[in-house]
Amino acid sequence: MSFEQRFREARAARYQEWLAAMRAWLLGTAENFTRLSRGMILVHSSRGQPQRFLTPLLSDVQTFGDFPAQGGGAAVGLYRGTPIWIIHQPMGCTASQLFMECLTDSPVRYLIGLAEMTGYPEHVHMGDLIVPTAAVRGDIVTDFHASPEVPAVADLGLTAALEVELCRSGHPLHVGPIFSGLPGGSGIHNPILKALIWSQIQSGMLGGGIEVSTTLLEAARLGIRAAAAWTVSDDIFRGGMADGSVGRANWASAWDLMARASLEVLHQAATGALP
């Protein structure tokens, strides 16, 4: 066997082993992969365990691994009779791609990502809701799987349904493109990014959400219809959530609304009722 053949065979074997190990970590047990439903919610968050807003809305909830503590584990429950799985990743495009890779050849067909982001223009406030229609690809991770000319676009049906559901609440809602892939480190507050962010505001970007482009592109690759709903946790013109006038209560309220809307939309998807 040539060196190249040997390398390729070894890599393929390792990938399958890696996939099995990661699925076990992601879902609490490897066996859960075969139990996945068509609808899934992926929470991107480093703090606050916002995935806890979802489970009270479900019946027959089962949790696996360390759920809801961040760092592995999953939950499943019924929403109006529809089984929906919840997984949660810590932060960053790499982790997001890892989680999506684990859904390769899975039964998942509809996925909604929930998270929080930085608002860009002055009319976007902390606690507002944002439904991204598309994401500027700012990270290199997406380049591994999709050439640069491929846009990261949310599924139209899921996005429209999310907008309808979130509008019902009367909560401030913005629908449009965002920038994605900025570093989670200093994020938009990185001093060297000032000019870039300004140009993005001029281009109509609503904010910066790290994992959106990776999630949307990976979903497209895997044949999963995906959309996202995010809340604004900090913004350029007013500062961070903890110091702002809106504060924690609005954060919790926004997460509750996103949880309800995403479950309802996935139920609609499962029952063929999407717009």
Binding site: F7, R8, A10, R11, A13, R14, Y15, E17, W18, L19, A21, A24, W25, T29, S46, R47, D66, A69, Q70, G71, G72, G73, P90, M91, G92, C93, T94, A95, S96, Q97, L98, F99, E101, D139, I140, V141, F144, H145, G181, L182, P183, G184, G185, S186, G187, I188, H189, N190, P191, I192, K194, A195, W198, I210, D234, I236, F237, G239, G240, D243
Partner: protein, 280 residues
């Protein structure tokens, strides 16, 4: 650029940097050396056990969080004050974004030397699970790639710290392989089916393997004026079956991890003595 925007942006940047500065309070002002653990706090207790004394503990997030364990420690080892800094604020988290945040929090501190330790995937048959590697430079391919530094800027380890790490390992009979690594931010890393050709090419070029966060570690450290090098434990290899006992993200605390920590600590002592000798 609009003046209102500029003022707001600068204010937010300053707030962020001030928050980060407060987060390192547990390190105090006497700490010249930091061991950056590329990982979360699972091994905090074990690492504390490697120190002679633990003088202070702190959390990166100063609010109640699900992360119960200490994220920052300051202690002494053979008379040298050393800080231990876990890069992740969330259990079992990984990635260059966390590294950037952890290093940014050292901005303007008394810290001068950072030794990062973590786990890697090997691309070379001779670099087996349990072996140690020292990345002298990294191919930039993580998710921070576009914003940390211009693409032409190489991610290189500090020579003095690297030499001290190698000397310390050699003195203790620890075999360490120095060389070029890949800072690959793909979810599946070197096992990604769509990166197979790249991985094969890098293998042929002698690239040791993937240390996901190393490029950002070196670039951000250099920007902050920190002398930085790193030491990585091979957790898996393309040539060896994966034996992970998931569901956990990292290798269990093992002789390999203990060697990583002790080599890093001994290197801090070596560097400190070099400084003292030089001062004389």
């Amino acid at each position: 650029m609009n003046e209102h925007y500029e003022a707001a942006y600068v204010a937010r940047s300053n707030e962020w940097l001030n928050d980060l500065a407060q987060s390192r309070a547990a390190l105090g002002d006497a700490c010249r050396y930091v061991i950056l653990v590329i990982g979360s706090t699972e091994y905090g207790g074990n690492i504390a056990g490697c120190l002679d004394t633990v003088e202070a503990r702190g959390a990166f997030i100063p609010e109640p969080t699900e992360v119960e364990q200490t994220q920052i420690m300051r202690g002494t080892y053979q008379g040298v004050t050393v800080g231990v800094w876990h890069h992740a604020i969330t259990r079992q988290a990984f990635g260059a974004s966390y590294t950037n945040m952890a290093l940014d929090s050292l901005r303007g501190s008394s810290v001068e030397v950072v030794i990062a330790i973590g786990e890697m995937s090997s691309l070379q048959e001779h670099l087996r699970v349990g072996h140690l590697a020292l990345p002298t430079a990294a191919i930039r391919g993580d998710d921070m790639h576009r914003y940390v530094a211009p693409p032409e800027e190489p991610a290189i380890a500090n020579l003095r710290v690297s030499a001290a790490l190698l000397a310390e390992a050699r003195a203790n009979g620890v075999r360490v392989q120095p060389g070029l690594v890949w800072g690959c931010g793909a979810g599946a890393g070197i096992y990604d089916p769509l990166l197979e050709d790249t991985a094969l090419a890098y293998c042929r070029q002698g690239v040791l393997g993937n240390c996901m966060e190393v490029a950002t570690t070196y670039l951000v450290s250099r920007q902050l004026g920190l002398a930085c090098s790193s030491l990585w434990l091979v957790a898996d290899s393309i040539y060896e079956p994966l034996t992970w006992t998931r569901p956990v993200m990292r290798q269990p605390w093992s002789p390999g991890w203990k060697t990583l920590v002790h080599t890093a600590l001994n290197t801090c002592v070596r560097l400190d003595r070099q400084e003292t000798d030089r001062a004389r």
